[in-house]
């Protein structure tokens, strides 16, 4: 008796040919699908790896330890040691003199200039406030020690991002500077510390102190205005269309219009925002108010469509039960339909919010592409948004902005992941098993 199982497919059996062919094509199809997923994930992995490797160094920055001597400067200026006089001192010069003293081998004018390039141009601000506090505390006038940010060049050099081989004239740092940095390192006057200013500081022309805080606040303002206007209008419109509007030609036209608006390119909404909010209504250019309203128009069709879908997925049997008990239309909507469609509405809203967070083109059109140093305080203040900040920084020539751009992208991606994870969590939590 044959040992072949009666239900096993075998190549030798001509009757099995079709079945085998079908089985093989199914296996092939599955491999294609798997291949597609692997390709997509590889691209994603490559993107993330590039961004992270470029960007994570931006979260650290090089600091240089300096020693302030105000006594010397006061004597030179022939001033009494008072708070007012100290306030008027030239701290740039104090820092510069300090370096000259540390490195007496700097003799030529160019070398002295190179010494001045060691610290950030804005280091004098921190130096001044530290010195004033030291004087207030115990009347100290010298040996005031603090860490200040290094200039972007030195920052890049210490992080190993500058090319130090080749001819000196083709480099950004001179041999002398490289030597000085080595000496500072040996004297333990150089360190990498967490770059808190990246997250709490506003934008700047100097990469070493540039931060995303301004654009983050701008994005938050924009989001609040956007969701605050789009959600009530969108959800209300969806409820009306789904539950109250009688079937008519107007309703059909409105539905077609809304569905198509969801597919319009975002830059067109930028033009719309420019025409309506800036020209017609005269809102301030580059304000978060104008930006938020423009983005609200952008996500309104999406919110309407997703809310309608959520409402339509409420089983009609529940509505029938409520109506048969004598519930009015409003009671059916607010007691039954809205609570039961809430998970879907929330998911749609959060996904729209995530989209609005990342939209750049419409904001560019309404002028949010300018360099804004101050953190916006009112919704009418000029501001910029996180994706626009990324766009601006990616265009700047200084080497220090390369890692900053990637760092800002990391922050934006993190926010989007959090928003999407929150949407998934909410949907799971409120899901109803019918």
């Amino acid at each position: 008796m044959n040992n072949i199982h009666p239900f096993a497919l075998s190549d030798n059996n001509p009757a099995h040919k079709k079945l085998l062919r079908r089985k093989r094509s199914e296996t092939r199809f599955r491999l294609y699908g798997l291949g597609a997923i692997i390709i997509s994930i590889s691209f994603l992995a490559f993107l993330l790896a590039t961004i992270f490797s470029n960007g994570f160094t931006a979260f650290e920055r090089t600091m240089i330890k300096i020693n302030l001597n105000m006594e010397y400067q006061l004597a030179e200026d022939k001033l009494e040691p008072t708070l007012e006089n100290i306030d008027n001192l030239n701290f740039r010069k104090i820092i510069s003199d300090g370096f000259k003293e540390n490195f007496p081998e700097a003799t030529s004018r160019s070398q002295i200039l190179e010494l001045n390039e060691l610290v950030s141009k804005h280091a004098y601000i921190a130096a001044k406030s530290t010195a004033i506090n030291a004087f207030k505390q115990d009347k100290r006038l010298k040996d005031i020690i603090l860490w200040v940010p290094a200039s972007s060049k030195i920052d890049m050099l210490y992080k190993g991002k500058l090319d130090v081989s080749g001819d000196e004239s083709e480099r950004k740092v001179s041999d002398f500077q490289v030597g000085v940095v080595k000496k500072l390192e040996d004297a333990r006057r150089l360190k990498n510390s967490f770059n808190w200013q990246l997250l709490t500081g506003g934008d700047s022309r100097e990469p070493e102190i540039a931060g995303i805080y301004g654009s983050l606040i701008g994005s938050i303002f924009i989001l609040l205005i956007c969701m605050g206007s789009a959600l009530p209008i969108g959800i209300g419109a969806a409820i009306y269309l789904e539950e109250f509007a009688p079937k008519s030609r107007w309703k059909t036209m409105a539905e077609i219009g809304i569905n198509n608006l969801a597919a319009v390119p975002s830059i067109v909404y930028g033009l719309l925002g420019l025409a309506v909010f800036l020209k017609f209504m005269g809102l301030p250019r580059s304000s978060t108010l104008a930006g938020g309203l423009t983005l609200a128009l952008l996500i309104l069709p999406i919110i309407i469509v997703s809310t309608r879908n959520a409402i339509a997925s409420v089983p009609p049997s529940i509505k029938d039960a409520a109506i048969a008990l004598g519930a009015s239309k409003m009671q059916v909507v607010f007691h039954h339909i809205l609570p039961l469609s809430l998970p879907g509405i929330m998911t749609g809203s959060i996904l729209s919010m995530a989209r609005a967070l990342g939209e750049t083109a419409p904001l560019l059109m309404i002028g949010m592409v300018a360099f804004v140093r101050d953190i916006p305080e009112k919704i009418t203040d000029p501001a910029t948004a996180l994706p626009v900040q990324i766009f601006i920084w990616s265009d700047l020539p200084e080497a220090g902005f390369v890692e900053k751009t990637s760092a800002a992208i990391i922050v934006l991606l993190l926010l989007l992941v959090i928003a999407n994870a929150f949407a998934v969590y909410l949907r799971r939590k409120f899901e109803y098993k019918w």
């Binding site: 009688p246 039960a321 004598g326 009671q331």
Partner: protein, 259 residues
């Protein structure tokens, strides 16, 4: 027009009732009297218009787009389709139980109290508690759920859910209960329980029940109306319809020759 039995104290009367779904007519000139505190069964093959007719009695067809009603439906002599009728008040008087049990995804307690709450007939917890107990007792569900009123209504079995829906309908204190094939989604034991329940309920409520099962109609109802193609073919007491039907069509349906 077949000769219809005259009911002495009819709760609901329909006169020349026509129902159109757009251009298509589903119910043709139906005159029917529903007797007070009795069970009237509407029987007939699928698609003969009995559910459509039933839904006219509490104006549930208003929710269907493009549905048009002509004729009169009189509750205690008043046309429920008159202009100044408030459907909310109407549905307080005429309740409905559906084919597939549809409890709200809320607790058993909240299911039963929903009706009284929205009509404002009861607000205090003590009053609501009493309504819940009374309704669940009358629906034959109290003993099974009295210890777990906070559990969701959807956690009950099919038969229990349907009894919950009946309790929910009763809680509003209607005078008429409409039932659209209430047992067709239930197993025979649950069906038997509900049929016993209907027998009990008719002491206090007027009941109209649509059913596919002739055996059920024969067991449960006092009067039966045989529908076919949107018209009433024959109407009479259950005893008469099922033992001595006047028309051959009725006889054929009852003996299972068609439908």
């Amino acid at each position: 027009m077949p000769d219809t039995l005259k009911i002495e104290n009819a709760r609901i009367k329909t006169r020349k009732l026509d129902v159109f779904y757009g251009a298509k007519q589903a119910v043709f000139g139906v005159d029917l009297d529903i007797a007070l505190n009795k069970v009237t069964a509407l029987i007939g093959p699928s698609g003969c218009g009995k559910s459509t007719f039933l839904r006219c009695l509490n104006r549930m067809n208003d929710t269907v787009d493009g549905c048009e009603i002509k004729g009169k439906v009189l509750l205690d002599g008043h046309d429920i389709y008159a202009d100044n009728v408030d459907v909310v008040l109407l549905r307080e008087k005429i309740g409905m139980v559906f084919q597939k049990p549809n409890p709200f995804p809320k607790s058993i307690y909240d299911n039963v109290t929903y009706g009284p709450k929205i009509h404002g007939t009861a607000k205090k917890k003590a009053v609501l508690d009493e309504i819940v107990e009374r309704s669940l007792v009358r629906a034959g569900l109290w003993n099974e759920v009295k210890d777990r009123l906070d559990e969701p209504g959807t956690s009950l079995s099919g038969g229990q859910q349907q009894r919950l829906c009946i309790a929910r309908a009763i809680a509003v204190n209607p005078e008429v209960i409409l039932m659209d094939e209430p047992c067709s989604a239930l197993d025979p034991i649950a069906t038997a329980i509900i049929e016993d329940l209907i027998d009990d309920l008719k002491k206090n409520y007027t009941i109209v029940i649509v059913t596919h099962s002739m055996q059920q109609a024969a067991r449960v109802s006092d009067y039966a109306a045989f529908f076919h193609m949107g018209k009433i073919v024959e109407f009479g007491t259950t005893g008469q319809i099922f033992t001595t039907p006047k028309l051959k069509q009725t006889q054929d349906y009852i003996t299972g020759r068609f439908g």
